[in-house]
């Protein structure tokens, strides 16, 4: 896999290439949102310019074609995560919306005697919805602690998941530390207690091969915009038998079968959960993104990103005043490197790095409890994707040294 070649598939790298006194475009924030290849933009444009119509309703050619493209994207998503079938794929606006749906619908019958287990390293999207549900339904929230090295405390899951546990919701990979969690082991513990397992796969599906059966998940959520797809589209996967038992959360057109003035009956799964006109172009874009990734192969993408992150981490470790966070062993993480520069607040660091064309994220990364566990107020995060190169990592290191010079001026 040649990242320099891959960059050519993305117009933004051509558009922002350094020239003269211009800054390079060293994009190291794919964990926040990834770049979008031309193939995806073209697929969406083709829909808008060649067969623009609504889906599922029209019988004219353009509508049939739009429907076919939309449902084909659904099949792409199912294949990408090893789902049993396309009927297990619900399109949402993103990961956050999917998790909110689960937190509301899965907790409807929970009460004070029940428990839901999360971890200390969750993104706010997999924390706040459960907190709100817990306040409404009065069930208890428990948290698997994170250790100083960024891994989950292995014994803690066994202690915390018990006969009161009804749901375990956990991130597959940490958006801050890159930690890949032992989801299968934890899922087995949960299932032994009759609990359901929901997986926040926002940081794993874009970066490594994911098979829902291997994970032992009952539900899984991910978003398109972190995996070369457009914004505004995500996937909620659920085991077919479970989806049959769930009620829809939003109502309206397309999710119904029959409507009278008195009531309505629902469409089949998964359309039951997709009310109103869906983000058609975005779903088509997601399908194109999946096909682009499948051509490269997710094992290859995973290997490239991890090696690059390890190279970057090694380089940064060699800079005095730089502290890294997260598991030391690269096989335990995706391509995310979180660090701090002594004497420079993460926001200032990100601003300074921006002057050298390096785009990183500074702050709490929507994981305030994890920051507290690590004993820091925030960190700088560089995330490596399939289009990043060793040169990008070298830029980062140079920019850090330059930032240190600025702050050490007397």
């Amino acid at each position: 896999m040649n990242p320099e070649q891959i960059k050519k598939d993305f117009a933004i790298f051509r558009n922002r290439a350094a020239g003269g006194a211009g800054r390079p475009f060293v994009y190291l924030d794919s964990a926040a949102s990834s770049q979008t290849p031309d193939a995806v933009v073209e697929a969406m444009t083709a829909y808008y310019q060649k067969y623009r119509a609504n889906v599922h309703r029209g019988v004219y050619e353009a509508s049939e074609r739009a429907t076919a493209a939309y449902e084909s994207a659904r099949a792409d998503a199912a294949r990408f995560i090893g789902a049993a079938g396309a009927q297990e794929i619900i399109f949402t606006r993103g990961t956050t919306e999917a998790i909110n749906f689960l937190a509301i619908q899965l907790t409807r019958d929970l009460g004070p005697e029940d428990e839901v287990v999360l971890t200390e390293m969750e993104h706010h999207a997999n924390l706040v919805p459960w907190q709100m549900a817990s306040q409404r339904r009065k069930f208890v929230l428990r948290f698997i602690p994170a250790l100083a090295d960024g891994r989950l405390d292995p014994g803690a899951a066994r202690r915390l998941i018990g006969n009161k546990t009804k749901i375990v919701s956990i991130c597959h990979a940490s958006n801050v530390l890159g930690t890949i969690n032992p989801v299968r082991e934890i899922a087995d513990l949960a299932h032994a207690q009759g609990a359901l397992v929901a997986v926040d796969a926002a940081q794993s599906v874009p970066h490594m091969p994911v098979r829902v059966a291997d994970l032992g998940a009952d539900f899984l959520a991910f978003g398109g915009h972190k995996m070369l797809g457009p914004t505004g589209i995500g996937v909620l996967w659920g085991r077919a038998a479970l989806l049959e038992t769930l009620d829809p959360l939003f109502y309206g057109g397309d999710m119904i079968r029959e409507v009278t003035l008195e009531g309505a009956t629902w469409n089949d799964v998964p359309w039951k959960f997709e009310a109103g006109t869906p983000p058609i172009a975005e779903a088509i874009g997601l399908g194109a993104a999946i096909q682009y990734l499948e051509k490269l192969g997710m094992e290859e993408v995973f290997r490239h990103e991890r090696e690059l992150a390890e190279y970057a981490a090694d380089t940064l470790r060699g800079i005095p005043g730089v502290t890294l966070y997260g598991p030391r062993d690269p096989s335990d993480r995706v391509g995310v490197v979180a660090f701090n520069i002594e004497g420079i607040h993460p926001h200032d660091a990100a601003s300074l790095l921006d002057r050298y064309g390096v785009a990183v994220r500074g702050g709490h990364h929507c994981a305030m409890p994890l920051m507290r566990r690590l004993g820091i107020k925030g960190a700088v995060r560089a995330s490596f994707a399939l289009y990043n190169t060793r040169e990008d990592a070298d830029h980062l290191a140079e920019a850090i040294r330059a930032a240190q010079k600025v702050f050490s001026r007397q």
Partner: protein, 156 residues
């Protein structure tokens, strides 16, 4: 091996002074009026949820209605802390009307540099805390949680 032209690096390093000017770094490294005011008459905490800047602002307002003593505790990025430090210099001797009429332009002038809307939230944190402090007539801490109201400082 990298593609960053060393000349570009030098130029950018000097250009970085645009935001991180000498006086900003100086206030960040040696903040003025750092520390709580034990006999304070007004106090407020504010935080910037976007990047973890926090400030606890203390005022002692004298019988003449003017600020006799000022102090702050807190931590955060260079922009937020420098702006707060400069603000404590400015607020000394000011009265209520003068403080309430202070706005974002004042902070911009103090810092002497333009910044992006995102960094502006860092710069205006201290001013928000200062104005909030005026609403409390005894030295209680208001809720320490971050405020969602990022528009509480209005340009005139």
């Amino acid at each position: 091996m990298t593609n960053i032209d060393p000349a570009l690096l030098q130029e950018d390093m000097d250009g970085a002074e645009d935001l991180y000017r000498e006086h900003i770094l100086d206030h960040y490294r040696h903040p003025h009026h750092k520390g709580a005011v034990s006999a304070c008459t007004h106090r407020a905490r504010e935080a910037n949820p976007l990047c973890g800047d926090e400030v606890d602002f203390f005022l002692r307002i004298g019988e003449d209605g003017r600020v006799r003593e000022v102090g702050f505790e807190g931590h955060g990025c260079a922009i937020s802390q420098a702006a707060i430090s400069m603000l404590t210099d400015w607020v000394t001797g000011k009265n209520r009307e003068e403080i309430l009429s202070a706005d974002e332009d004042l902070i911009q002038e103090m810092l002497g540099v333009r910044m992006s809307p995102t960094r502006e939230k860092c710069a205006f944190l201290g001013l928000r805390a200062l104005k909030k402090a005026l609403t409390y007539t005894n030295p209680q801490i208001n809720t320490p949680n971050t405020t969602n109201d990022t528009n509480s400082v209005h340009r005139k």
